[in-house]
């Protein structure tokens, strides 16, 4: 049976410092995050400004294939920039000249949506706090997109815990087919194309932000020659039992339905792979080309060549994966695929595929690429503009403007799965059902004793001679059910550690 899927999303936001002649995105990102931390009463400290991220267990250079190809570039871990652990168990930091928000570990796709939305609200609070500190006439504005329209991309990554027993080659085969074809509902939409050598006006509008930036099928890189399957083998958990599949091929989605389906369907496909329940092999002849073609094909009808000489459409692959998941759930129960959240993912998956098949425009309240297309096309028609007009391109960027009064994505009528009161509460409270609970409660209850934290451990200073590290190698332990009472009954971190038997 497939293992429980611990899930999460990392989002690098676009950042603009308005009203200055010398914008520096790294300084601006630091200011943004520090302003948030100060305004929310996070601990100022002489060792560092806040509870620091602990890099001792970060190994982004380990390759899931078990070897490092010549010339492969491991991403660098930047340790000198702002890097905070939040009360909800999230990580908020500066990465590659962008502010980045990693959700806490979540146990189901709706929880991911909740913490992704909480992340958006944190960004909004951060902008407000930073702008209070900036001179009059200056402003930080954030964008939840993945491209500047000029060939520069920044990522939104998903993470899935999978069993170490699953051969990586199986994951590569089946996930490649899923990633190429899921774009029909995960895409956030983009005006034009950014392929080297291609005129940007050859593609008026495409399904995704990211497809143009992928050049390889499988690899370790994340910033250059990006691969459809990223092989970073850094489980942040017991490496004998688990892998973490690090998915770099998705878009940032303002649409909660798109986020829910992006994470939910991928978790289902991985569960099917773990159970050996995908008999169909969609081996693409040219995966990178097909990835781009799907993104550029608004009809969703393009025949994609398979290695065996036949062809398939993106919708056909998605229907096949959906049918396999539904059948597996019928035969073995929802638990076999992940639990109580499975039926809702299957229901929405079917609804969206049905809508895409009939008329994608029906899904204007569900999917980003459709909502954005209708908005931009409506504006174009009204004013008689071409797709390459600057006003249309401006609206494309402004779709993800994080200022509440400006961001068009939050005004086009997209269905909300998590209301804003629920998401606002999740700014300060971790998920109850993963180890993020332990991390978040430590940061909330004992901020003075926590020296550093990372995904799989927390370091305490409780006054003794040595610092104490508490490992958290099991992502589904340290939950409220496991340790909630311990926190309630402990007056100090020292007592908590004593009762944990550490």
């Amino acid at each position: 049976m497939a293992i429980a899927k611990t899930l999460g999303i990392e989002t690098e936001y676009g950042i603009v410092h308005r009203g200055t002649d010398e914008p520096n995105p790294i300084t601006a990102s630091s200011l943004l995050i520090n302003a948030f931390l100060a305004s929310e009463g996070y601990r100022p400290d002489t060792r560092s400004d806040v509870i620091a991220w602990d890099f001792i267990d970060e190994h982004p250079d380990i390759d899931a294939r078990g070897f490092s190809p010549m010339g492969a570039m491991a991403p660098e871990v930047e340790t000198h920039l702002v890097n905070a652990v939040l009360r909800n168990g999230a990580r908020y930091y500066v990465d590659h000249a962008h502010p980045e928000m990693s959700t806490p570990e979540c146990a189901d796709p709706l929880s991911v949506v909740r913490y992704d939305r909480a992340g958006e609200l944190i960004i909004q609070r951060s902008m407000a706090a930073a702008n209070d500190l900036l001179p009059a006439g200056q402003e930080l504005v954030l964008y939840k997109n993945n491209s500047d329209g000029k060939g520069n991309s920044y990522g939104t990554h998903e993470n899935y815990l999978v069993s170490r027993d699953t051969p990586f080659g199986e994951i590569v085969r089946h996930c490649t087919a899923h990633f190429i074809t899921r774009q029909i509902f995960t895409g956030a939409g983009k005006v034009g194309a950014e392929l080297p050598g291609q005129r940007t006006d050859e593609v008026h509008y495409q399904l995704t932000q990211r497809a143009d930036f992928f050049e390889e099928e499988v690899g370790l890189e994340t910033t250059l020659k990006r691969p459809i399957i990223n092989t970073r083998d850094e489980p942040h958990a017991d490496a004998r039992k688990y892998r973490r599949l690090h998915v770099i091929v998705g878009d940032a989605n303002p649409s909660q339905v798109a986020t829910f389906l992006k994470v939910g369907t991928t978790a289902l496909v991985l569960a099917l792979v773990e159970d050996g329940a995908i008999p169909t092999e969609f081996l693409f002849k040219a995966p990178v080309t097909s990835l781009r073609h799907v993104s550029h094909d608004l009809s969703l009808r393009e025949a994609l060549p398979l290695a065996d000489g036949s062809t398939v459409t993106a919708l056909e692959v998605q229907w096949e994966l959906f049918d396999l998941a539904r059948k597996h759930a019928e035969d073995h129960g929802f638990e076999a695929l992940g639990g109580a959240w499975v039926p809702e993912v299957l229901r929405r998956w079917e609804l969206v595929l049905t809508g895409l098949e009939r008329d994608p425009m029906e899904l204007a309240d569900q999917l980003d690429w459709v909502a954005k297309y209708r908005l931009l096309d409506g504006y174009r028609e009204r004013h008689g503009l071409s797709w390459s007009d600057a006003r249309v391109r401006a609206l494309d960027i402004q779709y993800t403007d994080m200022r509440p009064e400006r961001g068009l994505a939050w005004r086009v009528g997209l269905e909300q799965l998590i209301d804003d009161d629920d998401a606002a509460a999740a700014i300060g409270v971790p998920p109850s059902d993963t180890r993020a609970y332990f991390r978040g409660r430590c940061v909330r209850d004992f901020p003075d004793a926590v020296v550093a934290a990372n995904w799989d451990s927390i370091v305490f200073d409780v006054g003794g001679e040595a610092l104490r590290r508490v490992p958290m190698m099991e992502p589904m332990r340290g939950t409220e059910a496991h340790v909630g009472t311990l926190f309630d009954e402990s007056d100090s971190a020292a007592e908590l550690l004593r009762r944990l038997g550490n």
Binding site: V16, D148, G155, H204, R301, R380, L385, S386
Partner: protein, 63 residues
Amino acid sequence: MAEREQVPKPTSERDSDTEETPAASERGAELKAELDDLLDEIDEVLETNAEDFVKSYIQKGGQ
């Protein structure tokens, strides 16, 4: 003259019932009205100098 992007209405082998349900068309009309309202207001939101805004929106590459 604005060019018109065609989004073909796909036909379905799988879906025999292609007629819109009343609920779907109601929601469609609602969405159309919401879109019209937003298009009425959008010039207040649109960056005042769209060309400069688009040109100056430059990001450093990330992951």
